[in-house]
Amino acid sequence: MSDPENRDQMKEPTGPKPGGRGPGGGGPFGGHGMGAPVVKAKNFAGSFKRLMGTLKPEMGRIVAVVVLAAISVSFSIAGPKILGNATNLLFSGVMGKQLPAGVPKAVIVTGMRAKGQDRLADMLSAMDVTPGVGVDFDAIGRILLLLAGVYLLSALFAWAQGYLMAGVSQRTVYKLRRDIDAKIARLPLSYFDGHARGDILSRVTNDIDNIANSLQQSLTQLITAVLTIIGVLGMMFFISPLLAAISLLVLPLAAVITMTIAKRSQKQFTAQWERTGDLNGHIEEMHTGHSIVKMFGRQKEAIDVFEDRNQKLYESSFKAQFISGIIMPSMNFLGNLNYVAIAVIGGVRVASGTLSLGDVQAFIQYSRQFTMPITQTASIANVFQSAVASAERVFELFDETEEEPETTTPLHIAEPKGAITLDHVSFRYDPETPLIDDLVLEVQPGQTVAIVGPTGAGKTTLVNLLMRFYEIDSGRILLDGIDIRDLTRDELRTTFGMVLQDTWLFAGTIRDNIAYGYDDATEEHIVAAADAAYVDHFVRTLTDGYDTLLDDEASNVSAGEKQLLTIARAFLADPQILILDEATSSVDTRTEVLIQKAMKKLMANRTSFVIAHRLSTIRDADTILVMDHGRIVEQGTHEELLAAKGFYADLYQSQFVEAYEEAV
């Protein structure tokens, strides 16, 4: 539709965004928080709330997930305490065995005190020991069985929780994707013309993937982490308030360290990200422009710039990795400090009989479980921030203004004839710059309108209005005497057929691509259309014929053949009105002849609007619209316009007369 000038301007920036996580990155063990810096949401609270809102239909399941997680965590927290009980039984058994049988415990304790072994006596008196009796393996066995059961149940619930959460997050993301797709279908064309395609695409893909991963991994982790912290703290206080208080000292310390490091590394990661962008941009440019770089003798400079940026990236990425790499050892260090403190103080307390050995053992396990979720929450916070930022970008898309609603009382044209009337039509893209002012045009069925003008004159504007891709500001456009706004867009567009210079083919078979505009196309229809477009022969030379798959960029078919395929598509759709764009791009001369013949055939008996480059088309046109700088400057037949000696006459002289008349 657009001529090359406009199209190029709309092109998305090339190349991947520096350091951007590819979709589905991370992998099975992929952690978050490494690499890209967190992009902050503009309105965190609002977007967060909205993101949670999208989870509403899953509320029941989310409650179930939380309950399951709570059960699982409680079981796993109970574990060390139960294990501690087993240790206690074992310990007392061991102690009891060393004592003379038949002597009451009290007697032994008194005896010890007499010998000055006060501490041992203290410990012994606090223990449930029967002198001379060894380990009660029945009791231990029962406890261990219970413990095994508790652990298994904990795992089972954890699994159930993860299983449910997978459903919750995937369904939510599925719905997000579906809704965004529906939204895109309702957006006006101006949105697509005004936004880089890459940006829209990344909202639908990267951002949504980001949300998916965060929901799946972080939400469960967050729930478990928080529950674990609470549960572990509770157990620790229950066992020994003193030891718990010591462990708690670690908590703010851990938080401060994590925060400081995270903050610093964030800065370094941003630097690393930017420098990766710089370097990758350079690599991209130099590899793409390889031959130019060489032929203009700039190779040395290219390498110098590369070395410089490579070194800079090295410096900042080393810092980023080092600083963020410190978090783990620091946490381990704190954990170990805590471990030593508990071992020593706990040891003393056991020895003095105020604490059991099993409890110390349980406590050590708890303190080990304690630091992990803290580090986790820190990194989850980052992940969440970026997920909310992604969600915000998705919601922005949801909030875009939609197309004007369809008329509620649509009219219907039973047999469209293809008469078009533009009745004092005015339109401007930008309120400041008038484009089409008070245009009056009468096109009879079967007539041809040629739109001409220099490159970049905005020849596509009229097409945008006819197809209602854009809404006119004032006046009326009539199709067979009916205002096109009284028709549904679908009905209006069905009467039109388009063959654009920008041949749009989608990944699929040639058959599907030709049958694109027509649901119930039979094989005969398709072949007939291909034949009419002179492409049947070409298709049959391909190994798979009509089943040939066109790949992503359709590189297995030449530009000219693509054009023919889109003409075949228009033949099959059999519209009353045609919009054609005569290509200027390089097409092989023989194919060019076929394209011309096919277009001519297609135009027969149809009302046609042609963005014209060929002299014959222009001369034969019933009306010529001459455009310049986006405006219609002249209007009339070839002879009329030549006689007027205006812009067209000038254009005609310079473009065609010289070139062609000398050529022959």
Binding site: Y163, H287, S317
Partner: protein, 576 residues
């Protein structure tokens, strides 16, 4: 992969040795802590010896500090080494690509070279980092843990022998089940992206053909399909952590039971049990880490192979060992019986090409697609080397010239005008950094770019984005032409460089070129007859052979292929 690692890690062997030593220290320290804890229980707690508890505690504290310092120093050198490794590999790749001729660039394709130079290096660099900072310690911890466990109690260590293979099997089974699904999922993500990309690029066609509903279904299918796979993957992976935790916890239960029996029989002191529990957790944790390695390595190996493929490719075009002295003559170009075929191809692309182009003249080359036009002119700057015959510039075989000297003589305007990020001026000065603003404006005037550049907000200083995407195709071509003009070479080569211009601009530009280029040789490849009609000499190519040389009038008389091309572009009525 190993090759790449050894080559590029070698310069850092000292650092790596240090990291290894530090990891060793950490492992030993980490393993020693539980054993001291056991001592506290056995010798201190059980005997009520508080001073012993305190002194051992003090030692543990010391070890903890040692551990922390060793870890941080280890991370420092690990990060440094890994990042330096990445830097070096990246540099080697970039420099290798710079030696490539167009032929090697085409084998890989520029986009693939970019990915290899960026993402693939990144990928393998992360593996090195991860290995040095974490994975390296896994085997050491595992082995050390086993040794320590054996020291505590040999029979009890039997549990480890049972648990490790079991754990490895469970992880292995999950990974084996999940990995193929991950791959499938990636293709389905790609599919969703592809459908969306098509929808966005074809939005006009979709709406014009009223296919919104059909497109909705197409996306819906891809979306549902992806969701289904993502769901199974995530459900399988949801099993991973709980299963591993269960195995670990159950092994502790087992240690408790069998350890209890050992203690009862008096074969083991009770404190060892606590230590043993700590060891078994450490060992199993190491096994988990090691399995991560098994997931990461195959991926990195793919990247490493892709990198190696580039590094091992030798350029097919090289400078001569004793280059001919640069001659001072002016751009006389000769092709003598030149042949070109791609390596291993049966048919040559070009064959028996003989013609010459003189300074001050315009030589045009025309032919249908696939006739070998672009290949022919790519031979001149030695983007490819001819496989037969000779190309001479000013009487010297171009293969005997230093390429820098050759390139200095040529001003090349490629088919796809490629601009660099920077400003209009920096692009125009690409071939001559000393050029004055006046020279730039003059070149722009000739290239018909003066008007639009002066209309840009900052004139010559206006920014150009990467690839020149912020100017239109026609403007890009005109800037590329101006860039070649600024260089002021002896030979101009225009490879279909006017295709994005409308007829009017095209003809004005040609007229200006004719005025301005008076001493240099001009070679024009074109599709449009009107572009080359006035050339002094037109070379008509068909199927890689010259089928006619002459002026427009001569060729209209003598060359049927030329006539066919002319007629295809002008309809009969226009000729009549």
């Amino acid at each position: 992969m190993l090759d790449l690692l050894t080559t590029y890690l070698k310069p850092y062997w000292k650092q790596i040795a240090l990291v290894l030593a530090l990891v060793m220290v950490q492992s030993i320290a980490n393993l020693y802590l539980p054993s001291m804890n056991a001592d506290i229980i056995n010798n201190g707690v059980a005997k009520g010896d508080i001073p012993y508890i305190m002194s051992t505690g003090g030692m543990m504290l010391g070890i903890t500090f040692l551990l922390g310092i060793a870890a941080i120093v280890g991370v420092y050198w690990g990060s440094k080494t890994a990042m330096a490794f990445g830097r070096d590999v990246r540099g080697a790749l970039f420099r290798t690509v710079q030696t490539f001729s167009q032929q090697e660039v085409n084998i890989f394709g520029a986009p693939s070279l970019i990915t290899r130079n960026t993402n693939d290096v990144q990928q393998i660099q992360m593996v090195v980092l991860f290995s040095l900072n974490m994975i390296i310690s896994a085997p050491i911890m595992a082995v050390g843990g086993i040794i320590m466990a054996l020291r505590e109690d040999v029979p009890l260590s039997g549990i480890i022998v049972v648990v490790i293979p079991f754990m490895a099997a469970v992880i292995g089974a999950l990974v084996v089940k999940a990995m193929p699904l991950f791959k499938v999922m990636q293709t389905k993500i790609d599919r969703v992206n592809q459908v969306m990309r098509e929808k966005l690029s074809g939005v006009r066609v979709i709406r014009a053909f009223v296919r919104t509903e059909y497109e909705r279904e197409r996306f819906e299918d891809a979306n549902a399909d992806l969701t289904k796979t993502a769901l199974s993957v995530n459900r399988i992976m949801a099993l991973m952590m709980p299963a591993l935790m269960a195995i670990m916890n159950l092994s502790m239960v087992a240690v408790m039971w069998f350890g209890g029996l050992r203690i009862e029989s008096g074969a083991m002191p009770i404190g060892n049990l606590t230590a043993f529990l700590a060891y078994i957790i450490q060992i199993l944790f190491s096994v988990m880490m090691a399995t991560i390695m098994f997931v990461m390595v195959p991926r990195a190996a793919v990247s490493a192979d892709r990198i190696q493929a580039v590094l091992k490719t030798a350029p097919s075009v090289n400078d001569p060992e004793t280059p001919a002295a640069p001659c001072v003559d002016k751009g006389f170009l000769e092709f003598e019986d030149v042949e070109f075929r791609y390596p291993g191809a049966e048919q040559p692309v070009l064959c028996g090409i003989t013609f010459s182009a003189k300074p001050g003249e315009i030589t045009a080359i025309i032919g249908s697609t696939g006739s070998g036009k672009s290949t022919l002119i790519n031979l001149i700057p030695r983007l490819y080397d001819a496989t037969g015959g000779t190309i001479r510039v000013d009487g010297v075989d171009i293969r005997d010239m230093d390429r820098e000297d050759l390139w200095r003589k040529i001003g090349f305007v490629p088919q796809k005008a490629f601009l660099f990020s920077g400003t209009v001026a920096s692009n125009l000065r690409y071939g001559d950094q000393e050029a004055t603003d006046e020279m730039l404006w003059r070149a722009l005037a000739t290239a018909q770019g003066k008007t639009f550049v002066s209309e840009m907000s900052d004139g010559l200083a206006s920014p150009i984005s990467q690839g020149g995407t912020n100017v239109s195709g026609g403007q890009r071509q005109r800037l590329a032409i101006a860039r070649a003009l600024v260089k002021d070479p002896e030979v101009y080569v225009f490879d279909d460089s006017f295709s994005a211009l409308d007829f009017k601009t095209d003809s004005m530009l040609r007229a200006a070129l004719k005025r301005e280029i008076t001493h240099a040789t001009t070679l024009i490849v074109a599709q449009r007859v009107s572009t080359i009609m006035h050339a002094d000499r037109i070379v008509v190519l068909d199927g890689g052979r010259v089928v006619g040389i002459g002026t427009h009038e001569e060729l209209m008389e003598t060359c049927p292929t030329y006539r066919e091309i002319v007629y295809s572009q002008l309809t009969e009525e226009e000729i009549a």
